[in-house]
């Protein structure tokens, strides 16, 4: 099943639930009408939260740059003594 079909069925199911809620009036209708908006806003907040958390926890590795420079020096050394034309880069 294509992914978009999955998503659309989910949307359809949630919409059906929402419409039932509207008609059954267990919860005040004025509240039910606003539910989709609450949902979209919460989704947006959740997204922003995830981005924020992701940035705070973003793994950095400054030591890797140092290690890389060591590796590059070692490689250049080996290559120049074995006839590879490294040149001036």
């Amino acid at each position: 099943m294509k992914h978009v079909v999955k998503i659309l069925s989910l949307v359809a199911a949630v919409s059906a639930f929402w419409i039932t809620l509207l008609q059954a009036a267990i919860v005040p209708q004025s509240f039910t009408w606003l539910l989709p908006i609450y949902f979209v806003v919460s989704l947006g907040c959740y997204g922003l939260l995830m981005v924020g958390i992701g940035i705070m926890q973003f793994p950095t590795c400054p030591q890797e740059a140092v290690l890389l420079n060591h590796d590059i020096a070692e490689a250049k050394d080996f290559l120049s003594t074995n006839g590879i034309d490294i040149g001036t880069y």
Partner: protein
């Protein structure tokens, strides 16, 4: 040694490492050295797909072939810059390994992680092992806040829309079972990093077993911002395309 392994029932696999290059005269030599350094007891070949680099990359590759052997380093060049996806397909045609590793030539992907890719695959019998920069043990160096923001934002958006099953969608340091790569790549049509996303999403949809290993990524392209407005638009278009067609 080989006989011992066979008696124990361990199969010895061969790995083809495809490295697309364009003007990577120095980096290709460095990366070849590092691959040989870290894959000492492994049966592998390196396939360099060079798109007619004007800086003499191919001459360096030929020198490397003299040093390491033409059976270990294959130069399968093309006439001009033809794009990454087709570079992989081209390299794949010449690959004789059981597994294929794809990696960048600019040393942002460090060959020291190759053993961990191989180990992970052998342990889990995964069809694909992808390197992820965004977990503990992995990481990125050389990105400013703006770059991190766009990366995180893009990732959250893609995760929410596509449910891809991997943390790092746009990474391109991956190990594939050869047959799996052939299958997945034949159904991909995007370009650039959307192509990398398309590969992993299609693989997920097809039900392939995908594992991740942490890798570190040192961005050496300092000073050039690769993410302008047009890149963002392309990305969003790519997401919608993947949403609708996978």
């Amino acid at each position: 040694m080989a006989e011992e392994k066979e008696r124990k029932g361990e199969k010895k696999y061969k790995y083809s490492v495809i490295v697309p290059t364009y003007n990577e005269r120095l980096n290709i030599a460095l990366i070849v050295y590092l691959i040989f350094k870290h894959l000492r007891d492994v049966d592998f070949e390196i396939i360099v797909v060079d798109d007619g680099s004007p800086d003499g990359t191919q001459e360096i590759v030929k020198q490397l072939q003299d040093l390491y052997g033409e059976d270990r380093i294959l130069l399968r060049a093309r006439a001009k810059k033809l794009g990454l996806g087709t570079a992989y397909i081209h390299g794949l045609k010449h690959a004789t390994g059981d597994f294929v590793v794809i990696m960048d030539a600019d040393l942002s992907h460090h060959p020291k992680y190759l053993p961990s890719f191989i180990k992970k695959q052998l342990e889990t019998n995964a069809s694909i092992v992808t390197g992820t920069r965004y977990v503990k043990g992995g990481g990125v160096h050389g990105w400013n806040l703006m770059r991190k923001l766009t990366s995180r934002g893009a990732n959250v958006l893609a995760q929410t829309l596509l449910w891809p099953g991997v943390f790092d969608l746009t990474g391109s340091f991956r190990l594939y079972k050869k047959s799996v790569l052939e299958d997945v790549i034949s159904s991909c049509v995007s370009k650039g990093y959307v192509f990398q996303m398309e590969m992993i999403v299609r693989a997920t949809r097809k039900g392939y077993h995908i594992e991740e290993v942490p890798i570190t990524f040192v961005d050496r392209v300092f000073g050039t911002s690769k993410l302008g407005g047009s890149e963002i638009v392309e990305y969003l278009k790519g997401l919608v395309y993947l949403l609708l067609t996978t």
